[in-house]
Amino acid sequence: MESKRITLLAGHYGSGKTNIAVNYAFYLKNLGKDVVVADLDIVNPYFRTRDSVDELNEAGIRLISSAFASSNVDLPALPQDVYSIFDNRSESAIMDIGGDDRGAYALGRYADFIKDENDYEMLFVFNKYRPLTPTAEDAVEIMREIEAACKIGFTAIVNNSNLGEITTPEDVLASVAEAERLSEFSGLPLKMTTVTENLVNNLNGKIPNLFPLTLQKKIV
């Protein structure tokens, strides 16, 4: 799978951006790249990239995260070392953006750096089973709001349609048509469909560009 120097993950809140960011970081690391993950989420109080800090450290993946992430205060702060992404172009960077247009505002301040270098892809994470994005039309609405907020256009779509632990292969298969509609509707390619590891065998060969999500965080 082709990748760019900077990968931006954005979409509706709760669509699975953080989980994909962490798993994609491992994927790039396994290809032998130096990888950095930046948590730009200023919206979500819980379930942050910081929760995977041990696994990332162990794998030698650098994490840029606000000192206030997963803490007891509600400060929408951006870490200063995000700028190191643009200074050190030898690293592959994954930027995990907060949900919806509200979350994407934070990305806007880096838009010029990203567009000047012009070696990025911005992935829209789509989960058909989220209550506010069941159709391509609903998803495109959120897509346009995010683009307006961060001043960068999406370049591809990630189909992450799932129902958590009870997701069946049929649920994933049933989502592909809507993801393809979204692709057609928005004019963007469908880069991959992400599934948990236990579903990979069942779906191999049935869905193009299947991407296994090996690392899962479970809270309670």
């Binding site: 109080p45 819980y46 007891n72 509600d74």
Partner: protein, 348 residues
Amino acid sequence: MKGNEAIAEAAIRAGCMHYFGYPITPQTEIAAYMAKRMPKIGGVFLQAESEIAAVNMVLGVAATGKRVMTSSSSPGVSLKSEGISYLAGSDLPALIVNVQRGGPGLGGIQPSQSDYFQAVKGGSHGDFKKIVLAPSSVQEMASLTSTAFDLADKYRMPAMILADGTMGQMMEPVELPEPNAKTFDKPWALTGTKGERKHNIVNSLYLKPEELEKTNFERYERYKEIEENEVLFEEYLMDDAEICVVSFGITARVAKNAIVEARAKGIKVGMIRPITLWPFPNKVLRAAADKCKAFISVEMNMGQMMEDVQLAIECKKPVYLCNRVGGMIPSPEEVLAKIESVNEGGDK
């Protein structure tokens, strides 16, 4: 979907077309969801200038007999408390959601259950109760929202969903309730007399103390009926249990894991999970006190529900506390350790 979204969508399906709120972590997704959905279905979403304004807007809509709600998290619910008392004093049905965070004061944004007293003991001035429901899954966030609206209408009083930050933020699959066709006769509602009936008055002010006393006594007769008929709880492995864990909301899930582990070690332990915190499941706990040797209250506060357990069982058996506070969640290992030590003779 997220727990907060489940509440919002279930409320809409229960016929709630009016939402008034003010943002606060970790419940803001309720407001965000309403902001997106309400304009599309002809409902009203209004972000008020404060929590106090929001709850008084709720009172206004409730007086017209329409289903209405507000939501907040701990410090915001404190601000709403005056309005909640006025709702109770005016005999108005409404839903208040509290997705709790750590306290007291500004506390923190991580989950907590430390508003138990505030929720079940009034939390505002005056003699009154509100129905308090404690969901333990995202599914229950949805289903108990419908229940709360129905009970509030049935008994003409405010109802509260007492959740916590984890319940609000966590994502689980949900089967949403069917749109609720249940309607309640509301002859008291302010709908305009059209010149055909005497005008209704919704008010909590009584000029004569004799009359105010009478309304209070009448209200408490209604509360007795609720205590008799509306208690909800779940029993888990209680048939042969010698130790009874009592826990609600998110901690009940942690406790369940610990109980499975303890059972594997041969310890006879079960759980009673109150789903209504008021009315509290006194009868089933009292019955358990005849069979069990000890109780363990697992909660994310300094032992608030523990006092209700002691009252329910009339202090017949010791009640131990297993707790974390300040935004910390007890682990199954911590609960298991407590079960083991109580099983071996108890620690206080």
